[in-house]
Structure formats: C-alpha cells, structure tokens
C-alpha cells in the first residue's frame, strides 16, 4: 500500500560501515503524524534518518514522499528537512537570514523571504532576536530558530535527530513545547524523530517504533508499546521494571509471582510484565499477594517501592499516606488485566 501523504519507507536496508546496519525497515508516517524511533546507541537510527534525507545511502529499498519515489533524488529535491542533534545555524549570517535561507534558495525574493522569516520567528517568540548572530543565542533559542528555519522550507517530512539530547532538562521542556506548538496536525509535515528517551518519545509521538538488532522490533501507539511489549528485548529497552518468570499450563492459566490468571496461548514458560503503576502496595489486610519492602525510590513523578515477591524484584506504587519500612510485609494489589504476557521464556529458563 502506498500512502498519498507523508513518508513511506519500504524494505529499506541501511549500510553501517561495510556491514548492513538495518534490515528490511518498513515505516509509514502520515502528514501531521509524529513517529519516534527508539533504539540503543549504535543501532543505526541516525544512519536511517540520513538515508531517508538523501545524505546517506540505502543498500536497497525505496523512500516515497507524498507518494513520489525520491530514493534517487538529491537531498534538496526530496521535500525532507533533516535537523541535527545540535542545530547547525549558519554562523556568518543573522538569525533572520538563517530562517530566510530555505526561501531564498528556492528563488523567493529577498524582501518576501525576510517577511516570511519574520513571521516564523514570531511563532517561536524570537522576533526580537532577528538581527542577532546565532552565536549570541542560548541553546534553547538556537533550537527554536532551527525549527523555524526547517518550517520555512515547508517540508513534507521533518526528520529530527535527537532534538533534545544536547539540552539540559529545563531547556528540553522549552524546546519540546516549541516542537508541539509549531508542528501542526493535518497538513503539517510528517515528523520522524530519533531519541533514546522513552518518556520523551511517549509524550511527544503518536507512535513509537523500537529498533533492536537491526530491525523494527515493534511499532505502535505509546500505550501499546509500553504496556504490551512484543518481546523481552523490547520490554527491557523501554525500561519496564516488572519482568516476572511465568508458566502457562494446558488450561491457559498463567502462574507467576503475583498469582494466576487466564490468558490464552500455548503452554510453556513465559514472561509476565506489568508497568510500574499497575502494581499497588497497601498495608497488610489479607486477600492479596504478600511482598517484602526492599527500599523506596524517589522519582520526579512520586515515590515508588521496591518489593520482593516470591523471589521476584518488582516496582510498585504505595497507597497515599502509607508509611513504609524496609523489611516490612505489605499487600501487593494488581489488576490481572493489566498484566501482559510475552511468549518467550525468561533468561535462564
């Protein structure tokens, strides 16, 4: 199937040095959609983006933009803008001329290009910096200018390579907000962004694509990828804290440290996963699995509890106001429907 609007990558093989880095990558990103490519360092995320932009090569496969095959087109003829991790603003011209650049190289008269660039700078709240040199801008401002410049090119596809990696946490939020504000839905560009920050990707993207071992291991909406990883490798990569050994019997009952529940499938060893928030800890009342508190973890979003349940080390959320001590016994409450089963044995099984 060919999508009429946006990016379509079919059977793409991306070389990595003299070896094949990525194999048989198939990906579609519609106009106005944001897809995040996740993967460990060195898996080939940047090589893939560069190949899509025409700055690197595909061993085989096709790249289509708005239905047009651009596999052999030069970078300037693809309708794809590629933004580096650290925005490469042209240091010898002003901020305004940076943003006007894509228009001027397309033949738009200088005055019209500068007027359009001024409007874009207004959208990123940097109109007052129009005549400044890029070297005088802060990291966040440089990213916003680079975004405005990218949009001045009116791309069909926007590729963002680790757009927040070079920023400290405070500036990350500023630039992330700018990305969300600027990138329109509907007819806006198809956005493919590379990151290794799962939370950031889940908060920004409509879909996540996890690249592992040279292939797209799983693609789907964030809730699906994070709650229902297709493999142990994906579960580990997205950082699921609760991975338990389990076994399914012939009656399709899966038994793990948290109890037994029905889940159809072939009998044999499995891995049971649960997101951190799916497990709750309360004071001992009975009628629930018993766990032992191993420690508390203070995080930005609240405190979590490390517990041992039948030899499994799990992470759970304490009930509001619960006083916990290391070594104390607690009830571990879980909704069986929030447990996910991965059809492969745990390591060592």
């Amino acid at each position: 199937m060919t999508i009429r609007n946006g990016l379509e990558l079919s059977h793409a093989y991306v070389p990595f040095g003299e070896k094949t880095g990525l194999e048989d990558v198939n990906l579609q990103v519609a106009r106005g959609e944001r897809v995040a490519l996740l993967g460990p360092s060195g898996v080939g995320k940047t090589s893939l983006l560069r190949a899509i932009a025409g700055l690197g090569k595909l061993s085989s496969g096709t790249v289509r933009v708005d239905g047009r095959d651009v596999t052999a087109a030069p970078p300037e003829g693809r309708g794809i803008v590629y933004m580096h991790q650290s925005p490469s603003l042209f240091p010898h011209v002003s901020v305004l001329d940076n943003v006007a650049f894509p228009l001027e190289v397309r033949g738009v008269p200088r005055s019209a290009a500068r007027a359009a660039a001024t409007e874009l700078l207004e959208r990123v709240r940097l109109r007052s910096a129009a005549l400044r040199q890029p070297s005088t801008l802060s990291g966040g401002q440089r990213h916003r200018v680079a975004l405005a410049r990218a949009l001045a090119a009116d791309p069909a596809v926007l590729l963002l390579d680790e757009p927040f990696a070079s920023l400290d946490p405070g500036l990350r939020a500023e630039v992330r907000d700018a990305v969300v504000d600027l990138l329109e839905r509907g007819d806006g560009p198809a956005v493919l962004l590379v990151t290794h920050d799962v939370d950031e990707a889940a908060g920004l993207a409509d879909r996540l694509a996890v690249l592992l071992q040279a292939r797209i291991a799983q693609i789907g909406v964030p809730a699906e990828v994070l709650a229902c990883p297709r493999s142990l490798a994906v579960a580990r990569f997205v950082g699921l804290p609760n991975l338990m050994r389990g076994v399914r019997d012939r009656r399709a009952v899966v038994t793990c440290a948290l109890g037994a529940f029905d889940r159809p499938g072939p009998p044999g060893p499995v891995v049971v996963t649960a997101r951190g928030g799916a497990l709750r800890v309360r004071a001992r009342q009975g009628g629930a699995t018993i766990g032992t508190v191993r420690g508390l973890v203070d995080r930005v979003h609240g405190t979590a509890v490390r517990i041992d349940v039948d030899g499994e080390r799990l992470l759970a959320v304490p009930e509001l106001g619960l006083q916990l001590e290391v070594g104390a016994s607690v009830d571990v409450v879980v909704d069986p429907t929030s447990l996910h089963v991965i059809e492969e044995p745990a390591d060592g099984d």
Partner: protein, 261 residues
C-alpha cells in the same frame, strides 16, 4: 628569571639566524664590491644593481613569476580545497591516501619531481611553454594546499552543508552561500600560500621551461652564475619581498578576525 633570560637569548639567536641572510642580501645589493676578509664593504652604490634589475629581462621574468604565482595560487586553491573537502567527507582511508599523495609532492626533492614532470609535460607537447610550467608548478602547489585545506576542513562543521542541502540548497548554492563565505579568510591564505610555493620554484621551472620560460628565480640564478653578485642580491631581495609581505598581510588579517596566524 633564568628561564626568561634563556628564552630571550634563544629568541635573539633564532632572529639572528633567520635574518642574517636577508641582512647580507641588503648590504650586498648596495655594495660595489664586498670580498673576504672585509667585514663591511668599502663603498656603496645601488645604481648598478638597480640598472640590472630594471632591464627588460628581469621585468619580464618578474611578470612571468607573478602571473605563475597568481594562476597556480588560484587554481591550486580551488583544486586543493575540493580534494580536501572530498577527502574529509568520504572517509578515513581515502583521507589517508590523499594526505600521503599530497605530502609526497611536498617532501619529494624538487629535482626528482621536476624530472618526472618534465617527461610528462614534454609528452603532452607543452615543454618550454608557460602553460607547461604552470601545469608543473600546479603539482607541488596543489600538494601544499591540499594539506592546508585538510586541516581547515577538519575543523569545519560539515553538518552545515548537510542541513543546507535538505533545506533546499543545491551543491552550488551550498558552496557559494555557506562554504565560501565561511572559509573566506582560509581561501585567501591558501591563495597566498599557493602563490608563494610557485614563486620560489627553480628546479621544476628550469627542467620543464627548458630555459625558455624565465622566471625571477631563473634570472637570479643566471645573475649569480655570471658573477653579477650585486644584481643577484638585488633580485634575491625582490624574491624575498612577497613572503615578507604575506606574513604582514596574514598577521593583520588574523588580528582583525581575532584569530591566530
């Protein structure tokens, strides 16, 4: 204190070592005669040197040298920068090969390089012509400039070119609007460096030019061989002026841009 005094002494020694030949040339250019064991010449008279330097032969040699320096500097800069840019972009192995080839033209004895170039230029029927000498000079000039430009591109942010391309700029627009403006000073330095490499060539010019193409170094050699030391010293001073001028120009340029020489 001892360290500062030692540094000062070493600096003075270096200065004397470097400047002595120039000082001797200046004195000799204005001396009627200057023979051992005289410390300084008895009488000075610049007229013979000036009249020798003002002859048509020297003037045309000067023009030939300037034309060669300008042409090879210009072409060498373009070629050297293009080779270096490709070498930096393509990869480490190609870069090492390029550097080795460029370095060979710099360290090879000029007489050996000259013999090879003589055979090559004669083979294309350009022996004894200005064009042949220009092509021959271009070889060491391009070598020097490739080495220089690889260093320049090593600190050049190539992602600027990548982003410019995806923003819609053609390779020519990237070159004219991004690369050349950003490397303007370095290109100027390359032009001067290339010109100076050509300016001092003697062995290659003699071998390829066959005595027909007469540059300032060729005329200088002729003067010295014929025993006209005073005129030779004057011509040698003329030959030394452009390098001094270049150092001054580059220093001023570096001060203006806040860079180091």
């Amino acid at each position: 204190m001892i360290g500062a005094r030692r540094d000062g002494f070493l600096l003075a020694a270096l200065g004397a070592w470097v400047l002595t030949p120039i000082a001797v040339l200046i004195v000799r250019a204005f001396a009627q005669s200057w023979r051992f064991p005289q410390i300084l010449p008895d009488a000075t008279d610049a007229w013979p040197a000036l009249s020798a330097a003002g002859t048509g032969r020297v003037t045309s040699a000067l023009i030939a040298s300037l034309a060669l320096a300008l042409a090879t500097g210009l072409f060498g800069t373009v070629i050297g920068f293009l080779i270096a840019r490709s070498a930096v972009r393509v990869g480490r192995r190609f870069q090492q090969l390029t550097l080795a080839a460029a370095f060979f033209t710099v360290i090879a004895p000029p007489i050996a390089l000259g013999v090879g170039l003589q055979v090559a230029v004669l083979g294309i029927g350009l022996g004894g012509t200005f064009t042949g000498v220009f092509l021959a000079h271009l070889v060491p000039v391009t070598g020097y400039l490739t080495l220089f430009a690889v260093g320049v591109f090593a600190s050049f942010d190539l992602s600027l070119e990548d982003e410019a391309r995806t923003l819609g700029a053609s390779p020519w627009q990237v070159l004219s609007r991004i690369v050349v403006p950003l490397l303007g000073r370095r290109l100027g330095e390359g032009l001067i460096l290339g010109g100076l490499v050509s300016w001092g060539q003697l062995a290659i010019t003699l071998l390829v030019g066959g005595g027909v193409v007469r540059t300032l170094p060729v005329e200088l050699l002729s003067m010295v061989q014929s025993g006209n030391d005073q005129a030779g010293a004057f011509a040698a001073l003329m030959l030394s002026l452009p390098p001094m001028f270049a150092i001054g120009l580059l220093t001023v340029g570096a001060r203006r841009t806040g860079a180091s020489l």
